[in-house]
Symmetry: C2
Subunit: 290 residues, 2 copies
């Protein structure tokens, strides 16, 4: 598949016959997308994971990637750790690094472009959500936002900080949904913001049941339910998948990895219910008026 | 070919059946790779052109690209001009922008990843140069280095500054050489540095005839022959192609676009002759001892 990788003016690749390609790109800037002090290994791991997450949201099988790295200084130890994290995340899904460009600048900027493949016509888009679909998410929500707060406050490694620094791209779930889910997106900006993109693209609305949102015990224990919900709704950086399809169509092999949290409606807009009350919210989290 | 472009988590592409893909990536940092004051339109044009040049050096037909753009501030006028330059260069070769990520940072960093395609087994590498091959280059050399000096000194637009800001990617020549040239590279670091990469990869040497180096009248008039040769040998940024093949194998359709400048030898090392004298040099230009 990789005819020639790193080392020439470009890489040469043989795409699998009869497949479509998916290509994604994601950039992280130190101090903007992660705390400037995050470990080199985590930076390397995370830039691959967030691209894997985009590939997963499209339903594709990740194959190869290229790297653009702008460094403040050429520190061999930092680079070695960065590469270790990069390869760790890539090797989990057999992704090959086929090219790169390293430059120097005033700030650490790391960008990965990743390609994957899938059967023609099976790519997942944001635009297919249909009234009556169930809205599902993978994993638990809000952990990464709480982890980022802890990292920024100088906390050491622990469950929540790892959820920010080393997100688990849901490639297996995405693959299982290719050609099946009506709409999908990965949760990088937060559930409200990202689900709203599905609703806008699909000209539909949704009702969410906040009591069904999957929240980790660690998150609930650390910040309490109110703040946990705020992180889950508006926090971002979870890199879980959110997708819609008729509940009966959910592939059995992923049923234990996903949680139904609501349904798609014909009326535009996003309505969030917490028991009997409707909860107003905005993209940065929700505001609870009793 | 582009099933779905910008606007979802990723683009979906249908690669042409039975072709191999070539993928390249090139990053430019303001102040490092171009003067911080270069026009937005030229920044947009140039980042596409330097990637087209890598695609050309591989012998491929450019098809699509993704963009990672880190901006100091979101200036709508700047972005509009940047996009105009980007699309101008891309449209010359029918390249589609299929994805991108725009971030904010302390410094302008722009990275493009481009993909193209070619017939299987026809990609051009640095490693195939063979004793007896003739060494060719496209266009004229040294203009961009002189243009960069002028730009950095605050000069307005003119022939030499345009040669830096808006390089002409030799895509047509590269396509004609696919499956034919023994080795190829694009001249981004300068003739000595880049030809040396061919020689190292090919375990060969070369003899160059400095009197045959193609130098523009504008360059000779502006800086004189001595400095023109220095720019041609060590200046970089020309984005011309350098390639090797037996002279009799040169495709007729490109014969007017290229200049023979030397030949590949069995003995390692690069020997430069100026008439009867051998000229010592290093990667940053050549030093002439009489």
């Amino acid at each position: 598949m990789v005819v020639a990788g790193v080392g020439d003016d470009g890489a040469v690749l043989r795409p699998p016959a009869g497949r479509e390609l998916v290509t994604v790109i994601d950039t992280m800037v130190a101090g903007t997308h992660f705390p400037a002090g995050m470990s080199a290994r985590d930076v390397g791991y995370r830039i691959v994971a967030v691209n894997l997450s985009d590939i997963a949201a499209m339903g594709a099988q990740p194959r190869w990637m290229t790297l653009a790295l702008t460094l403040v200084e050429a520190d061999a130890d930092w680079l070695e750790e960065f590469a270790a994290g990069l390869y760790e995340a890539a090797s989990e899904w057999g992704v090959m690094l086929v090219g790169g460009d390293t430059t120097s600048g005033e700030q650490l900027v790391v960008s990965v472009q990743m390609s994957g493949d899938l059967a023609p016509g099976t790519a997942l888009y944001r635009s297919g959500a249909t009234a009556g679909d169930t809205v599902f998410v993978t994993g638990t929500l809000g952990d990464a936002a709480a982890g980022l707060e802890q990292l920024s406050a100088g906390a050491g490694e622990q469950y929540l900080t790892r959820r920010f620094a080393r997100p688990s791209a849901r490639v297996g779930v995405g693959r299982a949904l290719a050609g099946i889910a009506h709409a999908a997106i990965d949760l990088s900006d937060g559930l409200v913001a990202d689900l709203s993109k599905i609703l806008e693209a699909s000209h539909a609305g949704a009702e969410l049941d906040l009591q069904r949102l999957p929240l980790s015990e660690e998150l609930l224990r650390t910040v309490g339910r109110e703040q946990a919900l705020r992180h889950a709704m508006g926090g971002g950086d979870d890199y879980e998948l959110c997708f819609t399809l008729p509940e009966s169509g959910l592939p059995a092999e992923i049923s234990t990895e996903v949680t139904p949290i609501g349904r798609i409606t014909r009326e535009p807009g996003l309505v969030c219910r917490d028991g009997d009350s409707v909860v107003p919210f905005d993209n940065t989290g929700y505001r609870h008026f009793r």
